[in-house]
């Protein structure tokens, strides 16, 4: 008898919710496989910021179509598993990144009862901010290089990219954090715009044609 009774946890998601989560996970996974690989190969600066912003943009659009707590985190989990299963090989670092970004965005969204523009901006900012702290975990702790060493690398690369002297530690850190949070906030606001535009297009019966 008890095995036939649906659990409260399982009953949360409808079939539509799950398929939409799968679609947005596949969109984020496809983006990682195509643009992500390309940007990493050509070594574009701030590739992590670009990929996290675009990925969270898609996940946040997904939140508008699955307006339930945990949907962004679930999209992140699906994307991370896709990354591991479909793209093959060793992708532990991006998997940790995707999971952390989506979890942080979900945490920020949980402060609002309903989806809101400000919530999306904050969720994007918080999620993309993880990109700055990601090497501290993966290279500093997991690879054993030490947090101080990674901090030195972050400062050096920040100074080089921003054209600031290495001594301006405060300015470099503030600029890097602002750049990450700003990119995430823009992604969040864009997600809000895109999500509503998609809704309008679907409700008006618009087709695949751009």
């Amino acid at each position: 008898m008890s095995s036939a009774r649906p659990s409260r946890r399982a009953a949360r998601w409808s079939v539509r919710d799950l398929v939409y989560i799968a679609i947005f996970g596949a969109l984020w996974g496809g983006l990682e496989a195509s643009l992500g690989s390309y940007l990493h190969v050509v070594k574009v600066p701030f590739t992590g910021v670009v990929m996290a912003s675009l990925g969270l943009l898609l996940a946040l659009v997904g939140r508008l179509f699955v307006p339930r707590r945990g949907s962004v985190a679930m999209i992140g989990v699906v994307t991370a598993l896709l990354k591991m299963l479909s793209l093959g090989g060793i992708v532990l670092n991006p998997m940790i990144g995707i999971l952390a970004e989506s979890a942080l965005a979900e945490l920020a969204l949980s402060a609002w009862k309903r989806p809101a523009r400000e919530a999306f901006a904050l969720a994007g900012a918080v999620g993309v901010l993880w990109v700055f702290f990601h090497p501290f975990l993966t290279q500093g702790i997991l690879a054993g290089q030490g947090i101080v060493t990674v901090y030195g690398w972050a400062l050096a690369s920040g100074a080089r990219l921003l054209g600031l002297p290495l001594e301006a530690v405060g300015a470099i850190l503030a600029s890097l954090l602002a750049l990450h949070a700003g990119a995430g906030a823009v992604a969040g606001l864009l997600a809000w715009e895109v999500g509503w535009a998609v809704r309008r297009r679907i409700s008006s019966g618009g087709g695949l044609s751009p």
């Binding site: 799950l18 596949a26 690879a143």
Partner: protein, 223 residues
């Protein structure tokens, strides 16, 4: 009797390797790496990837881990710097081998069944659908991009073109999703329904792996 561990065994190996790499100091991670390589050798490559591929990016990263401490150390400390680099590369390689072993041995169906067994029915279904939709979504993105390019939408690339691309892509993907929803509902799929019968069960080989994990951990701690 099959010697192949179930998904639980491989998951145990992955979690153990990451935890042990974090906890064990100096050369002790070598025990974990040796155990992982022995398992890989004993069980053969996974069904998904019959021949392991060399990923040169990872070879370069491991090489950098070896060389950077050696180069940064002063004349007197070069040997110590080199040894430190070897230890870091060893820890990195251990995590990489464990992740690769898991990814190459565990199939989507097994992982989905594991989630179902753990009560996360929805997640297993979502991962399965996403895995099958990935090529469709990529094709959809290509079609949308070329359709927009031929109509001159990218003549002035900017936020407007990117927004139009995203709106078109997501709209198309959601329309396709509705077809998947209809197909799943037609097959009476219900995420709130009872758990499926084919939940993976631990096999004897998992117990063997657990014993190996205990023995190697003890050896690494006592060494």
């Amino acid at each position: 009797m099959s010697l192949r561990p179930s998904v639980y065994g491989y998951l145990l190996l992955l979690l153990w390797a990451v935890a042990a790499t974090l906890a064990l100091q100096e050369w002790r991670a070598a025990w974990v790496l040796a155990a992982l390589l022995a398992v890989r050798l004993a069980l053969g490559a996974g069904e998904k990837e019959p021949r392991p591929r060399v990923r040169w990016r990872w070879v370069a990263i491991l090489g950098a881990l070896l060389l950077v401490p050696w180069l940064l150390a002063g004349e007197g400390g070069r040997w110590a710097g080199f040894l430190l680099g070897v230890q870091m590369a060893l820890r990195g390689a251990t995590v990489l081998v464990a992740a690769h072993l898991f990814a190459s041995a565990v199939s989507v169906a097994e992982l989905t069944a594991l989630f179902e067994g753990l009560g996360a029915r929805g997640l297993g279904f979502a991962v399965g659908v996403a895995f099958n939709l990935l090529p469709t979504v990529q094709e959809m993105a290509r079609t949308t991009y070329h359709a927009m390019r031929l109509r001159g939408a990218f003549r002035r690339p900017g936020l407007r073109a990117a927004r139009l691309f995203l709106v078109t892509l997501v709209s198309g993907a959601l329309r396709h999703a509705d077809e998947v929803v209809a197909a799943a509902e037609a097959r009476a799929f219900d995420p709130a329904g009872p758990a499926p019968a084919r939940v993976p069960r631990p096999v004897r080989a998992d117990a063997g792996l657990a014993l190996l994990v205990l023995m190697v951990t003890a050896a690494a701690l006592l060494w």
